[in-house]
């Protein structure tokens, strides 16, 4: 991408924080755009769910967009991620197109998983996204294994594993981080600590205050960042990626954030207060980033508006595309269980 002509010295200068120093205006604006894309995608998805256009269940990450984008914005298609049940943001962050995501929600052949997976399994291997996962903690060994494959083929790629605060109490967390620690694998564990695993607060589920504390048990750095600040998240990622690429092994990054929507549709929010939710809504990462970019002169108000309008249009078109998609036919039920041509 071309360096932005509008970059101001206060951001690019020697005192600029690394997030601004290392990214040009186009990259920063693209990051903002993707955050909006996640937000609007999820709002639209929720709407279509309420209207009965989608079935199954759905977990929204509204409020957590800075983490998804802060983590993914510097990854290439050769870097892997494993995602979670709350994975729309990761998917968009890694480069997926929302049209195929909507198509998946509608159970269409055009969907990323040809309608077989739905929201909880959405994946895009072409961009290195090995998929959301319906099993809490299920992606932890998988990302660790992807990192092993990277190490075996001796490239400089990394594997990134998203997981929640709830997942940190699964045995899979412990076993994966230990293996990565012993084998010095190029994997970055990103804990999206949104304070709750479904209805149970970290105070009630997790014996320590910060998940990052546990990193010490696996011989890796554990850092806590403000997950609602894309700059904080991204700078932690830079350090972790450098470490991984140098063969120094894994890092655990804990992003403190919050989901302002319920866990899923069945949630009556009995376990938290309205005030708490309102407080966090005030810390919405998207307007904050939008403001920063303007304050720093990376982007004008008009550009900001254009970004939003572009997102709006993309969402609308994607939605229409998905609605017009093709339903699977019953006779395709048994396709893609086994690889065609193999014994089955």
């Amino acid at each position: 991408m071309p360096a932005s002509p509008k970059t101001t010295s206060s951001i690019k200068g020697p005192n600029a924080r690394p997030f601004y120093a290392k990214h040009n205006a186009e990259q920063l604006k693209e990051a903002l755009r993707r955050m909006w894309l996640i937000r609007r995608f999820e709002e639209m998805a929720e709407d279509s769910y309420v209207r009965g256009l989608t079935h199954g269940t759905m977990h929204l990450s509204i409020g957590q967009e800075a983490t998804a984008i802060g983590v993914c914005m510097d990854l290439t298609d050769k870097d892997y991620i494993t995602s979670t049940h709350r994975g729309h943001g990761h998917c968009i962050g890694k480069g997926a197109e929302v049209r195929y995501m909507f198509a998946e929600f509608f159970g269409k052949e055009e969907g990323y998983c040809r309608g077989r997976g739905g929201s909880m399994h959405i994946a895009d291997p072409a961009t290195g996204n090995l998929g959301a996962n319906g099993i809490v903690g299920g992606g932890l060994p998988l990302a660790t294994g992807a990192a092993l494959a990277i190490k075996q083929r001796k490239t400089k790629d990394v594997a990134v594993c998203f997981f929640g605060d709830g997942a940190n109490n699964e045995g899979a967390f412990h076993e994966s981080l230990n293996i990565a620690g012993v084998w010095k694998l190029p994997v970055i564990y990103v804990c999206e600590n949104n304070q709750y695993g479904m209805s149970v607060s970290t105070a009630r589920s997790t014996a320590v205050k910060d998940v990052a504390t546990r990193a010490a048990g696996y011989d890796m750095p554990g850092v806590v960042v403000d997950g609602n600040s894309i700059a904080d998240v991204n700078e932690a990622m830079m350090a972790a990626m450098e470490r991984a690429r140098k063969g120094q092994g894994p890092t655990l990054i804990e992003c403190k954030t919050y989901r302002t929507k319920g866990h899923s549709r069945s949630d009556r929010n009995r376990y938290r207060s309205k005030d708490e939710i309102e407080d966090w809504k005030q810390r919405d990462p998207i307007p904050a980033f939008e403001y920063d970019l303007q304050a720093h002169g990376v982007m004008t108000a008009a550009e900001a508006k254009a970004i939003r309008a572009g997102v709006e249009k993309e969402i609308e078109e994607a939605f229409a595309f998905a609605q017009a998609g093709t339903n699977p036919t019953p006779d395709s039920l048994l396709r893609d269980i086994y690889t065609a041509g193999s014994a089955a």
Partner: protein, 330 residues
């Protein structure tokens, strides 16, 4: 004796409440079973009635949670552990199968393991492959466990109470689509015997053995066929380990035809056992037709609602299959 209409979920909740009321050793463990009320609202408001010490939200730790419950059971408590979805029991197989099931035997009968595992199962909710499995056949294969699968609110309550009373580990499979169905449920504390099937519909032309939600589908199919003059006997299996062979054999001797209908994957599913049990029994000589199995398709459960529906037996397919079975069109 007072009888009311309750939903399947309410019936289970009532059983849990009554058991906790009369026995201070009984307590509940699971993910989000407290203030959230459980993913399917089975525990509901019980935490307010019995407190957080007896309705315990666990961390998301199925191996640890189930194993802690097993340890508590061995040490004298009476835990009821809820898996939020039975699919997550894949994380706890070690504690269920190597520890809970075998502990009594390995220790020469010197301990018992009075634990109940609640196992919400089945497809039909659009939750896709990792949240829709029917894994009861696995547990039916494990000596030391008992496995039941109620189809009505009345049996749900009675089997939960029987399971809590039982000195050995019992898994109760609860099909998620049944939670909202309603039925008559007596108010008193009664037990539905573990290991006993029940004939839900008498008939003379063929025997259907079904379990959980398939009982309802089979009954619907039977009603449709009745209009064609075909008379189907429907047995509700209820218990998968032990299986009530006697009830099935007796029925097959009468009807001379057998179909097994189940939602789990057909291959090595519970219908395989029922078929094999009959094929090696004295009922074999009475059979006038091959034994039919209608089970889940050989696939992970798809998300697409169109595909999800064809992945498990539905009423129309069952009706057609039973008609063929009776008419001999093999």
């Amino acid at each position: 004796m007072s009888v009311r209409e309750l939903s399947f979920a309410q019936a289970i909740q009532e059983a849990l409440a009554q058991a906790m009321e009369v026995d201070p050793r009984v307590f509940l463990m699971g993910e989000d079973i407290g203030v959230y009320g459980g993913a399917f609202q089975v525990t509901g408001d019980l935490v307010h009635r019995f407190g957080e010490d007896r309705v315990m939200d666990t961390p998301i730790s199925e191996l640890g949670g189930a194993g802690v419950a097993v340890g508590a059971a061995i040490a004298g408590s009476r835990p009821v552990y809820e898996f939020q979805f039975s699919d997550f029991s894949t994380l706890a197989m070690e504690q269920i199968v190597n520890q809970a099931a075998k502990m009594r035997y390995m220790l020469g009968g010197k301990v018992s393991v009075p634990i109940v595992f609640r196992m919400p199962c089945g497809s039909g909710t659009g939750a896709a492959a990792q949240h829709s499995q029917s894994l009861e056949a696995w547990f039916g294969h494990v000596p030391g466990l008992k496995v039941v699968e109620p189809s009505t609110p009345e049996d749900a309550k009675g089997l939960i109470l029987a399971a809590i009373d039982d000195p050995d580990p019992v898994l109760v499979f609860e099909h998620k689509l049944l939670y909202k169905i309603k039925g008559n449920v007596p108010e008193i504390m009664y037990r539905t015997p573990i290991g006993k099937a029940v004939v839900r519909r008498n008939g003379k032309d063929a025997t259907v053995v079904a379990s959980a939600i398939m009982v309802h589908k089979a009954l619907e199919a039977a009603e449709a066929l009745a209009k064609e003059g075909i008379d189907i006997e429907v047995i509700d299996l209820r218990s998968i380990r032990p299986i009530d062979g006697a009830t099935i054999i007796e029925s097959v001797k009468k009807t001379t035809r057998l179909a097994c209908i189940y939602e789990g994957v057909k291959t090595l599913g519970i219908g395989a056992e029922i078929s094999a049990m009959i094929a090696e029994s004295e009922a074999f000589d009475y059979l006038d037709a091959p034994i039919m199995r209608l089970g889940g398709a050989e696939t992970p459960i798809p998300y697409s609602p169109i595909l999800e529906k064809v992945a498990v037996p539905q009423v129309d397919g069952i009706t057609d299959a039973l008609r063929n079975l009776v008419k001999g069109g093999f």
